[in-house]
């Protein structure tokens, strides 16, 4: 009895329950003058039976499924000879892996002794047994609930209200997942960060001017000094984001103004989706573009002008990131510009203002809060952007205001600290979580301000 079979069995049972409930309500209705005298429509009686028979069995099935492997393993271990059981835990784990490989008919490493074959057989038997018991038990349970719920159907029963209540609960549970996600993010990042702050004082982290996290990973190695001051990393992030905004805000804003105030319908329908493609291009593609096309180009141009440009200049990463966030700025600005009431424009035209004067003196000031909100959201996007900077920005954290030099960002450091090394005991790896916390808090503040501003603005004109 395979798992898919059990699932289809339960599904079939539910569907059968639906029809039984449906039929039963109709039989009940005929002596009292037809369906119109039931409290709910027959479909609701059917649904009620289906839900009662499907949901509990399904929940039990899930629980069973998640517990089954460990229970079967421990049962099998209990039947192994004592000298196997007394092996250290990790060696026992290996033997169990082997037995499982043997049992699933997988490629097996080498010669196997009789004990392991026996254990594998035992394991297979246990699995089959468990499947039969599970299938049988669930079937019986489903049938029992089906019969009970079916028999309790009466013409007065408030089946619809009952069903709707269940659906409502399910809907509510779904909506809490968003909260759980945030909670998960906060807890997972916070716990590791607290462990990090035990090793490195929080003031050192927030105000330290030196970032050099590659500490020695062995006792007899000389690594770097292990300074965890986040200021250079933060400044680098800010610099790249600032360059990006410097590109994206004028272009995005002017595009939005042109598209919403000047462009003809045809131009608009073509240009707008094209602009939005920029937002849809994966960031890894931008990274590739930045590292292979833009960075060498900037370097060469700088060379011609006699400037010393680093091969991973903040400028290259910032420029490409700016291209990426143009559509964020333009589409958000577009929305708010369109939301400015026509009456304001008409008033301005009536006073003899030209279109551009109207836009500059009336529309943009009226839309300003919304535009600022959009820019803040774009900024938060730029701060959190990862792939472009991983591929095109550098790793050395230095305090500089020169966009032609290499800087590093929070996201780059998180990736370099975490990829590969999966141990959770050195400040080096934990630092990544502290940076993650910093990133989360920074973007949270930006987002909340932006959302509040945009909301206030919307209310103003609605």
């Amino acid at each position: 009895m395979s798992t898919t079979f059990i699932i289809s069995l339960l599904l079939g049972l539910s569907i059968a329950g639906y029809f039984f409930g449906y039929r039963r309500s109709i039989t009940l209705a005929s002596p009292i003058g037809g369906v119109k005298n039931l409290h709910s429509r027959p479909a609701y009686y059917g649904m009620l039976v289906a839900l009662w028979c499907g949901l509990p069995t399904f929940i039990i099935f899930l629980v069973w499924q998640s517990l089954e492997p460990s229970i079967i393993s421990s049962l099998m271990i209990a039947d192994l000879p004592l000298d196997y059981q007394n092996l250290p835990k990790n060696q026992l784990g290996l033997i169990i892996n082997d037995i499982k490989n043997l049992a699933t008919g997988n490629i097996v490493a080498g010669e196997k002794n009789a004990i392991m074959h026996a254990a594998a057989n035992h394991y297979v038997q246990l699995q089959i047994l468990s499947k039969w018991i599970k299938g049988g038990a669930l079937l019986v349970l489903g049938l029992i609930t089906l019969i009970i719920v079916c028999r309790r159907i009466t013409p007065e029963q408030r089946a619809r209200n009952h069903v709707e209540k269940i659906i409502r609960i399910v809907l509510f549970c779904c909506s809490t997942i968003a909260i759980l996600t945030t909670l998960g993010i906060i807890l997972s990042v916070l716990f590791e960060s607290i462990r990090f702050f035990k090793a490195v004082p929080i003031t050192d982290f927030l105000f330290g001017l030196k970032w050099s996290p590659q500490t020695a990973i062995r006792a007899d190695q000389v690594g770097s000094s292990g300074a965890f001051g986040a200021v250079p990393v933060f400044i680098g992030t800010m610099m790249i984001s600032a360059i990006a905004l410097f590109i994206a805000v004028p272009i995005g804003l002017m595009s939005a103004i042109y598209l919403s105030e000047y462009a003809g319908k045809k131009f608009r329908t073509i240009a707008k989706p094209l602009l939005e493609i920029l937002a849809g291009i994966p960031t890894v593609v931008y990274g590739f573009f930045a590292a292979l096309s833009v960075a060498p180009f900037i370097r060469q141009t700088g060379g011609l002008l006699g400037l010393d440009v680093s091969s991973e200049s903040a400028l290259a990463a910032g420029l490409v990131m700016g291209i990426m966030i143009i559509p964020f700025v333009s589409s958000l600005s577009d929305d708010v510009i369109n939301a400015v009431p026509q009456s304001l424009r008409d008033g301005s035209y009536a006073l003899g203002a030209t279109r551009s004067e109207t836009i500059r003196n009336v529309v943009v000031p009226a839309a300003l809060p919304g535009i600022i909100g959009g820019i803040l959201l774009a900024a938060s996007r730029a701060i959190g952007e990862t792939m472009i900077v991983v591929m095109a920005a550098g790793l050395s954290a230095r305090l500089t205001a020169n966009p032609l030099e290499t800087v590093t960002t929070i996201t780059v450091q998180i990736v370099t600290l975490l990829v590969g090394d999966q141990e959770f005991d050195s400040p080096k790896t934990l630092a990544a979580f502290a940076l993650g916390l910093l990133l989360f808090v920074a973007t949270l503040i930006l987002n909340v301000i932006a959302l509040v501003v945009v909301r206030k603005y919307r209310e103003q004109y609605e």
Partner: protein, 347 residues
């Protein structure tokens, strides 16, 4: 109704996968050095394509990072093999022992030269190890000759040695998790430090201080830790003709059309010069396997056989095509024997 069935099906999938998540592992899990990564992946691919076993999964974590994962314990959730571009250290070995990884098979697979290379767009550098030490150490001896240290003041190669060109010192090299870094500081930096009389004398008196002087790399931006990815360094060198990169010979070999090796102590890094030991900076490459996993993880012993076969690591083997320098015949024979008998590593 449609929505509910969809939700039901979704939950079903989760249940099914939750069930299989704890299933057995049937592929080899390898971690470790980025220098050995290109060789290991080639062997893994050959192994996967010529046998009925699954192709091993290889993550490039650096020698140190790999050791750490490898020594975390015995069992399917831990890797079977770690690649290293240096020998396992006593401290790592002890950690392994402490975590129950007692029986380890050590296999030396060949040699790799450490090269300093720059873009072909500029002229090749002629360096001595002392030059490199003076350019990259955090603290260097006072130029006036007094026996004390000053923070490294050198900004250009010309400052280090008047014979060198007047360009900024910009060296892209690996971080401490990398075996290339370990080998670099031991062979080049220490080799250069030794050239200075009073530092050499210190080795006997105060070994720790001696090591600290020789092994500490400056952190003011002249030495840039470029991550585990040697490929990225090559690309960056191509973009920046003034920069010098530190990596394994195989990367120079693969990219000989865009970068050139610097001459170190008068010897050019070529296949032949590294193989016969003339080139001063070459190091052996290793991998370590858990003996407890052999016979438990499908294909592991076959993978060991593949790696130690003549067609892989021999003079004409496919690993030499990738730039690995093979061991002499006698050493290969001995290693092959070690693999066959699963000789235990002792320290």
């Amino acid at each position: 109704m449609l929505k509910k069935t969809a939700a039901l099906a979704a939950a079903a999938i989760i249940a099914v996968s939750a069930g299989t998540a704890s299933a057995a592992r049937d592929y080899i899990n390898i971690v470790g050095s980025s220098t050995v990564y290109p060789f290991a992946t080639v062997v893994a691919e050959q192994f996967g394509k010529t046998t009925h076993f699954k192709t091993p999964k290889i993550e490039s974590t650096g020698s140190g990072g790999g050791m750490k994962l490898f020594c975390a314990g015995v069992g399917v959730e831990h890797p079977d093999i770690t690649n290293a571009s240096r020998r396992i250290k006593k401290s790592e070995f002890d950690k392994c022992q402490g975590n129950g990884v007692t029986d380890i098979l050590e296999v030396k697979i060949g040699y790799d030269g450490i090269v300093l290379a720059n873009s072909k767009k500029s002229s090749p550098m002629k360096l001595s190890r002392k030059d490199i030490f003076l350019a990259l150490a955090k603290d260097i001896p006072d130029p006036s000759g007094a026996e004390k240290l000053i923070p490294n003041p050198h900004q250009t190669w010309h400052d280090v040695n008047p014979a060198l060109p007047n360009i900024k010192i910009e060296v892209l090299g690996p971080p401490p998790t990398s075996g290339t870094r370990d080998a670099f500081v031991e062979l080049v930096m220490e080799g250069g430090g030794k050239k200075i009389g009073w530092i050499k004398a210190m080795k006997k008196k105060d070994k720790k201080a001696y090591k600290r002087i020789c092994h500490t790399v400056r952190e003011d931006g002249a030495y840039i830790e470029a991550g585990e990815n040697d490929n990225l360094i090559v690309q960056k060198l191509n973009a920046n003709p003034n920069a010098i990169g530190i990596f394994g010979f195989s990367f120079l070999d693969q990219n000989s059309d865009v970068i050139q090796g610097s001459i170190v102590d008068g010897v050019e890094p070529t296949f032949e010069a590294i193989a016969d030991g003339q080139y001063p900076v070459s190091r052996p490459l290793y991998f370590y396997a858990k003996k407890a996993h052999i016979g438990m993880v499908p294909g592991l012993s076959e993978y060991l056989n593949e790696f130690s076969s003549e067609k892989a690591w021999g003079e004409e083997g496919y690993l030499t095509d990738r730039g690995m320098i093979p061991m002499p015949d006698s050493e290969r024979k001995q290693m092959r024997n070690d693999v066959k008998t699963l000789r235990n590593l002792e320290m």
